[in-house]
Symmetry: C2
Subunit: 349 residues, 2 copies
Amino acid sequence: MGGDHGLSVTIPAAVSFLSASSGRRALLVGREPELSAALQAEGVSTEVRSRLEIIATDEVVLMDDPPAVALRNKRRSSMRLAIEAVKEGRAHAAVSAGNTGALMAIARYVLKTMEGIDRPAIATAMPNQKGGVTTMLDLGANVDCNADHLLQFASMGAALVSVMHGKQNPTVGLLNIGEEVIKGNDTVKLAGELLRASHLNFFGNVEGDDIFKGTTDVVVCDGFVGNVALKTAEGLAQMLRSFIKQEFTRSGISKLLGLIAMPVLKRFSQRVDHRRYNGAALLGLRGIVFKSHGSADTLAFGHALGRAADAAAYGLNEKIAQAIALDRPESIPHPDLKSQSTEASEDLA
Amino acid sequence: MGGDHGLSVTIPAAVSFLSASSGRRALLVGREPELSAALQAEGVSTEVRSRLEIIATDEVVLMDDPPAVALRNKRRSSMRLAIEAVKEGRAHAAVSAGNTGALMAIARYVLKTMEGIDRPAIATAMPNQKGGVTTMLDLGANVDCNADHLLQFASMGAALVSVMHGKQNPTVGLLNIGEEVIKGNDTVKLAGELLRASHLNFFGNVEGDDIFKGTTDVVVCDGFVGNVALKTAEGLAQMLRSFIKQEFTRSGISKLLGLIAMPVLKRFSQRVDHRRYNGAALLGLRGIVFKSHGSADTLAFGHALGRAADAAAYGLNEKIAQAIALDRPESIPHPDLKSQSTEASEDLA
């Protein structure tokens, strides 16, 4: 029921998802009359319809519901029932384009976190200059993180990459700042030490530009920084799109040049089409949940569905459990960096 | 002496800067033989040469010198002498393309911070979708900030915008994260309260994409977040440039289309040319210091020189002193937000 476009996007995407492979099934959770009407409008074949089941409920989480309200007062929401279907083993994964905060709160409450995970995280893939993707987390689930949390994010991110992109031993970078006065805060410094001592393929510190350079497969940061970085990139991409459009429509000649250059511009925009990267993973839960961008269209929502199905089919959570077991906090020495860094700051005082 | 290109950029830029206005003078600080040779190669007129003075020293700060080393062991570095010229009133401003950390450390040590400023900050302007610029700070001088620091950054940023862009009462946004589980950490929440109670034209929270949307004139954040946001944007811009170039050189036809569309592409890239925005201000010091990007070319370094000269001419530091005096910490009530936010987190637990 969620997202900016509701059923006009989610239903066609679900039908395409089922049509693409006869082994797939889908549970549609929401207002029954609206779901049935949307399916009818879509003209679904009997065969595909037989792999669709409706879980009816009248309650929905609104985009502006505070997470606590969604969790406490809407116990029969479509979001809640979808996640409960995962918990009960009726579904392998849940996908929503709705309220991110509510989705995380409900998923965490219903599914609980995996053993060895203190906090779930949100991860997404972004295109990089090497023609591959960089997986980044956390993107907003956790605004205050300690070094152990960052290590757990790294393990989960590496597991996600190895499962989704078939990469063994993916490289992990720790998002930090570069040449400036003091390199990183105490949390990031300690996280670096933990990552170095872990089983992960730790590359070292990376900076913001490394996300798009593709320096590492995984980039780890706290949710505040990750969210700002992601939204900053979205804002810049949006500005550049609008500038290109303005320049190519400024005059009759510009328009003509735009038309002529269209095939190239189109290939360019396909290459960086954010819809292809839609579907953020909520990692560290005892069940698979993916979040689609609220503004997703049918193509984009279909990518989120496919990603969630792949994660379930390729054993994402088993892989995460293995990774976490290798690097339990008690098995990694925690150096006392606080004293060192205080010294360094005094140097500059 | 600093930057990726050294004197081959800084000398021609300084000469252009002087040629543009007969009221300007420049002190060139560095290795005398190299400076003289570069000036000779540039073919400077007697008139311009008469407005140039060389401060000779053999010592230079290297790009990879730790700030503490630059500060303690290089007391006759060109960077140090340039900043001492500001302190002694021989120069109105210092501009460097060298090591940012060393520049900040030396500037802070030599000039000291202004009254009411706990920590200097680094601010830069970025183009926005409205065709104006968004001024953002801090960009890496301070990795751990409290709410009072963020308020001071806001005052300094607003003063910078009003002086450099002639905007009275510029709007200030506090960089935060949006719809996700918990909106911002305690520091950002408290900073929001302080900003609301201040004399500033506080817009409220903004997100990463608002930087390029131009939602507010000033965007305030801690140095870690600001540095990551800035570098992420640089990385994305770099990737898109390389993709556009690749697409327009993929085949003979693509190349032809690229040539045809060239005027439009050129206008587009001029519009977002980062060189036009070169010159970050080190704010909150008892003297004006600007930092040029290390990779700056002559055009870009010239912009940094012009910006520093404008800041001095239009009374940047007087404006900052006025703004800070209006919003001293003791004159703004500090609400105890800690207890509120703990409650909110418990709601979700």
